[in-house]
């Protein structure tokens, strides 16, 4: 799959740690780690919504396409 998740870039910009983010969006550290390391297979809209609200930016900022 060519889709990559750039969540860590956005997290660095907002200077937020993994534990803080996971707490704020209400998912476990293990699941956040799966998401960050591109091991996940899908993302729920509710999770995406929570991430966007916490990091305060558009969903397109989190995803990239590998060529």
């Amino acid at each position: 799959m060519a889709i990559i998740v750039n969540l860590d870039v956005m997290m660095a910009k907002r200077k937020i740690s993994s534990s803080e983010l996971s707490e704020k969006i209400g998912i476990s550290m293990a699941n956040l780690s799966i998401l960050k390391t591109n091991k996940g297979k899908a993302i729920r809209f509710s999770t995406l919504d929570a991430i966007c609200k916490v990091l305060n930016c558009q969903p397109r900022r989190y995803f990239g396409m590998e060529r």
Partner: protein, 151 residues
């Protein structure tokens, strides 16, 4: 009643299967003696050496089946039966059932008994049933993984 996890039905069945496995080993090891006594007392229509060969060739796969069932029930006892090893276990059970079925189809010429026919029927069902269950379990594991990796 608890079906899986500690102190549940599956741990009880695992224990029963372990006991059965030990009894099975004893029976397979003592087969020449048992068969000899059986033919002396009952005078059945059997051919001693071919019958012995077939019973041995069926006994070993039967032990493998019991052993694999112990493994499956062990994972059930641990609480997570959706493992890829269980697909392999069920596949081996189906292959062993097929082997036993074929052996008894050949063996019916040497062991003239209605039980041979019953065994053929049972293991034909076990062969297909275990194969279908293994495929089902594989699909279920895929769904489970997909679900777990949706965040």
């Amino acid at each position: 009643m608890k079906v899986k996890g500690e102190k549940s039905l599956s741990t009880f069945i695992e224990l029963c299967l372990k006991l059965l496995f030990v009894i099975g080993i004893i029976v397979v090891l003592g087969l020449p003696y048992i068969l000899q006594k059986y033919s002396e007392w009952m005078h059945p229509q059997i051919n001693y050496y071919p019958a012995l060969a077939i019973l041995y060739a069926a006994g070993v796969p039967a032990l493998i089946i019991v052993y694999r069932f112990i493994k499956i029930f062990h994972t059930l006892g641990e609480g997570d039966p959706f493992k890829i090893e269980n697909v392999q276990n069920l596949k081996i059970i189906s292959i062993c059932s097929l082997i036993i079925m074929i052996e008894f189809i050949i063996g019916i010429f040497f062991i003239t008994s209605v039980f041979a026919v019953v065994i053929i029927g049972i293991f034909a069902v076990a062969w297909l049933g275990a194969y279908i269950l293994s495929e089902l379990l594989k699909e279920a594991i895929q769904y489970k993984e997909e679900n777990e990796l949706t965040i």
